[in-house]
């Protein structure tokens, strides 16, 4: 029988302790302490987390997996529209200062302590509000009133793009930059105007993915990057998707959940490496659309909050995603 060295050209390393998981991917070694063969694997999975205080869909969201904030949205029964804000700290939810309007389908970006919310149905119009971790304050309005726009950046340098008119009659391809004190129209327009587009990154290095136009109803595969001046079409999503959640940057993003065809309520996620999309092996425990994300998070550590399941019931479910390298013991089973 051939030996490992004859096949691979090297001996199996003989180590008394495991190397860091990040250094061991693709390697095999023998751990002399545990008398086992080891390797390092990327493992992606979603886990359940404490449920949010109120079921809702199409609210705004900002922050990371462990410092997140959601606001606005529709809540059952009868789908009243809410202005409730709730914060998640990685272990529990607490309610916070109410949003400046009762709206859904709004644009959100920033962090848990410094976020922007903009527009939304039915009365969001051009309004925008800034959150400081405790309360929302009105800011100057945008130049083009909209709902369901994508967002990126911070309260000092933000970006909103795309979206739809209110009511949803036509889509918008314009972009506006938030300077911290005012909204200015960018010379760059999306190549494909669309609502429910998801945004990632910063004001000068943004990514817009997916989205929706109607009629006829189309879930878009479009992926576009923004450099502060222009939008450039990039590698398309494998299937059209809208109303998904966002986490990460222009060069390392995770786009998950949402609505696709033929699965109207998606549980899968797509990972973006700056060049192409790859389907994640992990899927949400509860597939859903119109969910909240972690726009200030990463492509490997993300949060899914609330949303609408397939029935369609608005849910309080929270799930935490991690895609980390872990040391694994090789067994024969």
């Amino acid at each position: 029988m051939a030996t490992y060295k004859e096949i691979f050209g090297k001996k199996v390393q003989y180590l008394s302790s495991d190397p860091p998981a990040s250094a061991g991917e693709g390697q095999v070694w023998y751990n002399s302490t545990s008398d086992t063969f080891k390797t390092s694997l990327m493992t992606a999975a979603w886990a359940s987390a404490p449920v949010a205080p109120t079921p809702k869909r199409s609210g705004g969201s900002a922050g990371t997996q462990t410092a997140n904030v959601i606001w606005g949205g529709q809540t059952p029964p009868g789908n009243p529209i809410t202005n409730i804000t709730a914060e998640y700290n990685g272990s529990a939810w607490t309610t916070s200062g109410t949003y400046g309007a009762s709206v859904y389908g709004l644009c959100g970006f920033g962090t848990q302590t410094a976020a922007i919310g903009q527009g939304g149905h039915p009365g969001g119009g051009p309004t925008a509000f800034e959150y400081n971790g405790a309360s929302w304050a009105a800011t100057p309005g945008v130049n083009t009133a909209c709902s369901t726009a994508g967002g990126a950046g911070t309260t000092a340098a933000g970006l909103k793009f795309g979206g739809a008119t209110i009511p949803f009659a036509s889509t918008i391809n314009a972009s506006e930059e938030w300077t911290g004190t005012a909204w200015t129209t960018s010379p760059g327009n999306l190549n494909t105007g669309r609502g429910y587009v998801s945004g990632f990154g910063t004001q000068t290095a943004a990514l817009g993915a997916g989205g929706y136009t109607s009629p006829p109803t189309v879930r878009h595969t479009s992926t576009e990057t923004y450099d502060g001046l222009t939008w450039t079409a990039s590698t398309a999503l494998p299937i059209g998707r809208m109303q998904g959640a966002a986490s990460g940057t222009q060069t390392a993003a995770f786009y998950y959940g949402g609505s696709t065809i033929p699965t109207s309520t998606a549980g899968d996620g797509q990972t973006w490496d700056g060049l192409a999309w790859t389907t994640s092996p992990a899927s949400l425990g509860t597939p859903r659309r119109n969910l909240g994300g972690s726009p200030a998070g990463t492509s490997t550590v993300a949060l899914a909050t609330c949303g609408t399941d397939a029935s369609p019931t608005d849910v309080t479910n929270t799930e935490e995603f991690t895609n980390v390298e872990t040391v694994a013991t090789i067994t024969t089973s």
């Binding site: 359940s48 109803t217 609408t308 399941d309």
Partner: protein, 95 residues
């Protein structure tokens, strides 16, 4: 042997399912608190530990379908304006 176990259980949040659970067995939630779980020892143990009520596939599908049908009826009763804002639920078939 069947690929999946079917049951109902209430998602109470933290640790209802863990990253390790998701790596150990198939798990997917459906309307009406229906869960489809990989048919192995760890999957069966998970459903039992969550006070789950095991169902046959037909029973689980019936629960999901009833929830979907209720959702369709609710959508049909919406105004034209509201119907434009949200899509009518589609049929869901559990694996």
């Amino acid at each position: 042997m069947a690929l999946f176990i079917y049951g109902t259980a209430t998602n109470y949040g933290k640790n209802f399912f863990t990253h390790e659970d998701r790596r150990n067995f198939f798990l997917r939630g459906y309307p009406a608190e229906v869960w489809v779980v990989g048919n192995n020892e760890k999957g069966a143990l998970w459903l039992a530990e969550k006070n789950g009520v095991e169902k046959t596939k037909a029973e689980a599908q019936a629960l999901v379908t009833a929830e979907i049908e209720a959702g369709k009826a609710a959508w049909d009763a919406l105004s034209d304006e509201d119907q434009k804002r949200r899509s009518r639920p589609g049929d869901v078939t559990i694996p």
